[in-house]
């Protein structure tokens, strides 16, 4: 990256010089590299306004699959948010929500939900770096114990569940 931006002054009768033109090109290069390495924001998202019934095996939550072509050397934050977990009508249960990339889990949360209770589930989210190319991200859920009685991940038009991928900037290594 160029060392720094430097404003180029063009006063009356300022001669056009190689140095000034060079600095203008350097300034453009500086701004270009800043802009392209910055966070690009949300690059994909899904929303559902319907409940999702939780079963014993993992199922994709209401179509929450996102396949995106990711440039190389980027960091992503993948995020699942829901309103509430609804417990079973017949007994206590444990509900797990996880996020996978290309079939491999990289983020998860679990919550025990008492019979007939409602529980807030903290968002499932993680930062991940992936190789450049196409990748598929999926939000899934299952119950681990005591799921008879149809526990669910709840949503409606006024409290949707959402799943999104955010570009959070150029790749940096994990700080060890």
């Amino acid at each position: 990256m160029p060392s720094e931006f430097s404003y180029v002054v063009w006063g009356a009768k300022t001669p056009i010089t190689t140095n000034k033109l060079f600095q203008m090109s350097e300034n453009d290069q500086y701004a270009y590299e800043l802009a392209t390495s910055a966070s690009q924001g949300i690059i994909g998202w899904r929303e559902s306004t319907a409940d999702h019934n939780v079963t014993a095996s993992y199922t994709t939550i209401n179509g929450f699959t996102l396949t995106k072509t990711i440039p190389s050397d980027r960091l992503l934050k993948v995020h699942f948010h829901c309103s509430t977990l609804q417990g079973s009508t017949t007994g206590n249960c444990r509900i797990q929500v996880r996020i996978t990339v290309d079939g491999t889990m990289f983020a998860s949360r679990e919550a025990d939900v008492e019979k007939n209770y409602k529980r807030s589930l903290d968002d499932v989210e993680a930062i991940i770096g992936v190789a450049g190319g196409s990748h598929t991200f999926v939000a899934e859920t299952r119950y681990q114990v005591g799921g008879v009685g149809t526990p669910s991940v709840r949503a409606d038009a006024n409290q949707p569940m959402q799943f999104w991928i955010e570009d959070v900037g150029a790749f940096v290594s994990k700080d060890t």
Partner: protein, 179 residues
């Protein structure tokens, strides 16, 4: 149009092509920068002590989480987020459900609810929602309430200067359709 570094070596002649490329570069920079996330557009951090909400009381609106007249440009994705430190159900009561709602222009757009046992504290993750709002001024606010108690109940929605609740409105970049 694509960005391309313009070289000005010694004796590089001034040319229409070079100046055109520099203008094209400026246009490309503008096109790249415009959709980038713009960060937090508005926020309020409330360090006031807890609010106690009794069962059967109307939902307590506004609190101090009230952001009127926030300008949102067209075709942007906006993330609205509300946090609270802790919820606590009064000692001696069995359990109740507590809910926090977030509204935009008077319409609920997000909520969270949870069951709290008597005498227990419970955390509730932040309430979030992404929206594509029309261009113009919008009002954001939060309300709280409790319902379906098992026994009489009151719930404290706790904040203090060291653990404030916050309502924020954040630009997450140019609008893209779901999928």
């Amino acid at each position: 149009m694509a960005y391309s570094y313009v070289t000005w070596k010694n004796r590089t002649p001034l040319s229409s092509a070079s100046f055109t490329q520099m203008s094209d570069n400026d246009q490309e920079l503008s096109d790249i920068a415009d959709p980038l996330p713009q960060g937090v557009r508005a926020w309020i951090s409330n360090p006031d002590d807890q609010w106690t909400q009794d069962v059967d009381a109307a939902y307590d609106q506004y609190l101090n989480f009230y952001l009127p007249d926030v300008y949102i440009p067209a075709s942007r994705l906006t993330l609205v987020r509300q946090t609270f430190s802790t919820l606590m159900c009064s000692l001696g009561y069995v359990a109740t459900k507590a809910r926090i709602k977030v509204h935009i222009d008077g319409t609920m757009v997000a909520s969270r609810e949870t069951t709290i046992l008597g005498g227990k504290k419970s955390s509730m993750d932040s309430i979030k929602v992404i929206r594509n709002l029309t261009e113009g001024l919008h009002t954001f606010h939060t309300e709280i309430g409790i319902f379906q108690p098992n026994g009489l109940a009151a719930v404290s929605f706790r904040n203090d200067p060291g653990q404030p609740g916050q309502l924020s409105v954040e630009d997450k970049g140019a609008y893209i359709a779901t999928g």
